[in-house]
Symmetry: C2
Subunit: 428 residues, 2 copies
């Protein structure tokens, strides 16, 4: 389908003409055909009036566990290890694929409603998350969580290979696969070594948790005499394109390693704060040239998958931490959620900015609301004034997934019912 | 009018039975008549089905400058003093009453839409803010900003007295007046002394900014050999019920003074972060028993008046700062925005919790949205999952001000037009 959005403000996020006024953008099938001047012979099947609206690249949630919406508001304000070991892990042990499907559906519907067009997820029963993503039309980069002590154990390597064979490129290329070694505190060094070799052989990237909590970081030093980052580095993880989630407890050497190896850090400000983990050294990472993307983490530690909150937090929290109101300007925070996210997932040739020839993953935000007036600076407005509910239209891979706040062809009541049914069984 | 809300979840915030399920609440004229069991002879003029909804006390924005929405997204990511002295103050000098009216209208409409039923404001041309509050039906505690070196200058004392005479108790008692000495860096010690005597004589509370930025705090020590808090204390400010905004840069002695004198601290997490001022010592203040309320500050340093963001920040930021996921549990953050706000404004006998006999200032939040499922804990849901746009209905002083997301009898386009006209003239 050919779509034309007219008379609108466009945040291209392309590093040059980043804000266009009274501009138009044309979509032909799954790609952006024109931005700015639209050739007269372009025939639109659908025209959208973009006045008093902003068109920007779809938001990329670069680290999440969508199915964990099942545990939303179930156990909060608890010490981290009590929360994990007494609340989350016992019910995760009882999960079946169906639970993951409904939990993923719920979070993905919330994601689309809040402007997310692509997400990177690591969890269990990933076929069910893939199925939900396929059905809803969202772009997904999926990793089946790998944990293990024994590097000879083939189970999860076989699983990831099977998952890759089943899903890589499905949904017109929307679904792609990564390797997902959970973390150095759940994988032995030998196991991590084998994951790095496996990922190289499979030609896939790696999605891993690193240095999220002080406890795991301290214990890594005690057990191995080095940081989790250094351990991952020594095991060859960073020889493969890696997206490292959290990275809260970093030494200067860690930052140098991340920079040298081109590792993308996925910053999860909401979850890091809520779980009491603290502050990622965003300013220092950026000064060393590390690519920083944004994620919500799961809705059990957030408690939503609302990327507008994370964008706002990325901008304001680092100003507070560094006592610098100029730290992480609005555009930088928006980049984290768009082009940096695309880079972190190895998708920057296709998505992350609005450029002719790129995939048409974009969202329309309705400015005609009291909290956007007077309209001075649309970049600042997106970062400091917007809320998720301002996203009006979502286009992914050239398809209109949500229009005028409504996602087509979903049965929300059925999703709610099945989510409630799942969690009731899990808590039995 | 008699209103009955049935079959709903009620967050009473009354310190005892704080969450009621499948409960009802009845309003007779401007007050709450029953909660829980509704006597059969109660005749409702209007019944509201509260299923899959939460009823809670209206949110209190205890420190804001509503008219500053005019400067929203106009100058961001700048050093604090450059922002103030080069951007904000020069256009504030050109303000006229009409600007303040339209700026206040805009922010008050946004406030109502995001669940605020009472606000405390300090600014110029306060008759115009009062007029907007009167027309919209919101509860207001208003202070005309007082700045001065010369304590013999009667200008702003006369102004506050006149403002008090004109507005105290207007709108069925919704509008009340405070004295508003701006800050120790804009009022001389002698001036502050006279304000304290004036407030005592007038029997009104005080709304003041204290220790917001490091610069003003350091300069206060240099100039007067003591902290802004100690200075205000020595000048008798705290002998009057005082709401002190910001209080970011606090010594241990400052905290002791605030506790001993029963000063309420108005915590503005969003503004404090965005302007690079840093972190209010919330945990230590609470440990000493200081009452902490919440505010947005003006929309020029936030950049909205969305109290749901502040509630969320209050809960998560302090967990991060203290590395304690148990710090500021959800209920504590909600209290800051309701009962503590009422206490800070000296209105706790009338508002801040849902109790029989109190004023009917309450809001209804619609839980029937993906980001609230599964519904485990409605307190956590309000703090960690909600967004402002989830507020469906707002009742103030027993009157329905917003129903089903619509504020009655407002002409939004006219507000937008006049706001744009004002700011265009101010920037000329």
């Amino acid at each position: 389908m050919n779509i034309l959005i007219n008379n609108t403000s466009i945040l291209t996020m392309n590093g040059e003409n980043e804000v266009l006024k009274n501009a138009s953008i044309a979509i032909e099938n799954d790609r952006i055909k024109y931005i700015g001047e639209i050739l007269e012979d372009f025939k639109a099947d659908k025209a959208i009036d973009g006045s008093k609206k902003v068109v920007m690249p779809g938001i990329i949630n670069a680290h999440t566990h969508m199915a964990m919406s099942l545990f939303r508001n179930y156990a909060d304000d608890l010490p981290l290890w009590e929360w994990l070991s007494e609340k989350i892990w016992p019910i995760e042990d009882k999960l079946i694929g169906e639970d993951v499907y409904w939990g993923s559906m719920l979070s993905l519907i919330e994601s689309i409603k809040s402007g997310v067009t692509c997400f990177s997820d690591m969890y269990f029963f990933m076929d069910d998350t893939a199925k939900a993503a396929l059905e809803l039309g969202i772009r997904a980069r999926l990793a089946w969580g790998m944990v293990g002590e024994n590097a000879e154990d083939n189970t999860r390597f076989d699983l990831t290979r099977r998952f890759y064979n089943d899903w890589q490129g499905k949904g017109d290329g929307r679904i792609t696969v990564m390797a997902g070694p959970h973390a150095p505190y759940t994988c032995s060094p030998e196991y991590l070594k084998r994951v790095s070799e496996f990922a190289k052989e499979m030609k896939i990237g790696i999605h891993i948790h690193l240095s999220e909590s002080k406890k795991e970081t301290d214990e890594n030093y005690e057990k191995f005499g080095k940081s989790p980052i250094k351990l991952a580095y020594d095991q060859g993880i960073f020889d493969v394109p890696t997206a490292a989630a959290h990275c809260v407890h970093l030494s200067d050497e860690d930052i140098d390693i991340l920079a040298k190896k081109g590792v993308s850090v996925i910053y999860n400000p909401g979850s890091n704060l809520k779980l009491g983990n603290g502050f990622t050294r965003v300013k220092e990472l950026m000064e060393k040239g590390v690519n920083i993307a944004l994620g919500t983490d799961g809705a059990s530690s957030n408690n939503n998958v609302n990327m507008f909150e994370e964008i706002n937090l990325a901008a304001i929290v680092n100003k507070g931490v560094n006592k610098e109101p100029t730290c992480i300007p609005a555009m930088t925070a928006l980049e984290m959620a768009t082009k940096n996210g695309a880079k972190a997932l190895g998708l920057d040739k296709e998505i992350g900015s609005l450029e002719v020839g790129k995939k048409a993953d974009l969202i329309i935000i309705d400015l005609n609301k009291p909290h956007f007036y007077p309209i001075h600076d649309v970049v600042a407005a997106m970062v400091y004034s917007a809320q998720a509910a301002d996203v009006e239209t979502v286009i992914i891979n050239g398809k209109i997934i949500m229009e005028n706040y409504k996602i087509q062809n979903i049965d929300l009541e059925k999703v709610y019912e099945n989510v409630e049914k799942s969690i009731a069984r899990l808590l039995e």
